[in-house]
Subunit: 308 residues, 2 copies
């Protein structure tokens, strides 16, 4: 377990509630006061390594010293913690709908009487079939920060999401396995032999995006070329890595074109990944607005904590 | 080591030479007589698990009892055994060129004086950069069986190859990571959760191929749908597996269209995989001819054993 405190808490009285971002691989908790986050801690106790009865201990080990003796602490959690393999299943809400609904929160029966835990459901779409868990909270957070936003929200990541937003609702969305494909190809395929050194090559990234966007039907022919160029032409590792990333983001952008073409786009994500998407979208004539994930998660959970 | 004899050999005198197919993961040897193969054995001593000085012992353990006392046995080997990480590097020959050239064989210095070993080089292409090792032998074998073939040879597999053949030469070729992508996505990505049962669904395979061929730019959007349909609509494992295979073969066919459109196509490969490609190509109006890999490898090695 790694734990770090953003702020040392001398007085837990200032904590109004606790925000929990509980994904497949990680658990992150934030103590929230009247003016926003007071402290954040995280551990590697993600959903995938926990059995049902291990969720409460994993949470308590991070937050126990944040709990006052005299009142029950509200805890709001989002992410894979609400999946079928999670702590308690929070069934998907079907789009079109608002990204989060206070009435849709699932209350968890806990052993401890010092916490009152709610889990937010994810969203589902029937056709084409799609699901999200956690991103709906980030979308709700972005909309609480920009209540009049109409357009498209892109959340780059392991499973990138594109969501069409209108009148405060998620109208439709689409998931792309871009980050997972990158991890598999760069870490476990034959391409890994050409990606042994660190580094990055902006021009190679751009050429990958351009190539995939302009001729997406060629993607299956582009990947092995990275291996062959490494063998025959000593393609530098930094260039191969950046071009691979560009090719995969490029085919995502090609397939997501009906989402972003001519739209206002908001990007929510980790900085370097959002930067890569931002750069590519600017080249397509867009002017995306970037928001950090963590702030959106907390704003999203806050939006269902306090009645609007 | 697994070893099996196609024919019990009572007399090694009938063996003229030994054909060796030495890939990344497997080693297969065939004793060849005047009328063709007499026996075949294989082991899991592929290139990737051997250091340089382990190649000769790995080979000898399979063929030692095939060696006569009174003469030196010619051994012809193709595949990754000739790569930089192999027994001896047999540098690529650049296309356009005939697939195999007797003068291009690389002789291996062995400890044993009972064998005389040659390795066949692979082929390379400068632009787009590409390489093959082993497939050139299958192509040579196909051309020795059909000397007047002009058209395209497709070799489905982990790294599928498409080669344009004219006047007995490989004019150009292109590699697709189709088989490796299928293995990674079905075995290690989030999609594996929906692929736990065995089985196959022909209609789902066809729909995957059709979808990817007609709208290849959508491929990045199609993959996660398999996961979502499993979660929301109980998509059967057999359908998910077949559709995934169809999508990946479909984008290969989309990118390889400049190769096969309006051409005579020959398929060389393992039966079930070649069948899947054959079916898809027939739907595109082609009439591919199928040849088995093993026969092509032996015919290819035989073509450089005996002066033409």
């Amino acid at each position: 377990m790694t734990a770090f405190a953003v702020t040392e808490l001398s007085d837990v009285a200032a904590i109004d509630w606790i925000a929990v971002d509980w994904g497949t691989s990680n658990l992150r908790v934030s103590a929230i006061g009247s003016n926003g986050p007071l402290a954040t801690r995280s551990s590697d106790k993600g959903m995938s390594c926990l059995t049902r009865d291990q969720f409460e201990p994993a949470l308590m080990s991070l937050i126990e010293d944040w709990l006052p003796l005299t009142r029950v602490m509200p805890v709001l959690a989002c992410g894979m913690v609400g999946s079928r393999q999670g702590w308690v299943e929070a069934k998907y809400r079907a789009v079109p709908c608002v990204p989060m609904d206070q009435n849709g929160l699932i209350r968890v029966k806990t052993h401890s009487e010092r916490i009152d835990v709610y889990i937010t459901p994810g969203l589902s779409q029937t056709k084409p079939a799609d699901v999200m868990r956690g991103e709906e909270t980030q979308i709700a957070g972005a909309l609480s920060l920009y209540p009049n936003f109409d357009g498209v929200i892109c959340l780059p990541g392991t499973h990138s999401k594109w969501a069409h937003i209108s009148a405060g609702e998620v109208v439709s969305f689409q998931t792309f396995m871009t980050g997972e494909l990158y991890a598999l190809l760069s870490g476990q395929s034959v391409l890994r032999h050409g990606l042994t050194d660190a580094g990055w090559d902006d021009a190679a990234f751009d050429s990958g995006v351009d190539d995939a966007l302009s001729r997406p039907e060629k993607i299956a022919a582009r990947l092995f070329t990275l291996r062959a160029e490494a063998l025959l032409q000593n393609l530098p590792s930094a260039s191969a890595r950046a071009r691979l990333s560009g090719l995969l983001i490029g085919i995502e952008l090609a397939a997501a074109k009906p989402y972003w073409l001519g739209q206002s786009v908001m990007l929510i994500g980790a900085d370097s990944l959002s930067d890569a998407y931002e750069k590519s979208l600017i080249k397509q004539g867009l002017n995306p607005k970037k928001l950090p994930s963590q702030a959106c998660i907390i704003a999203g959970l806050a939006s269902v904590r306090t009645p609007k």
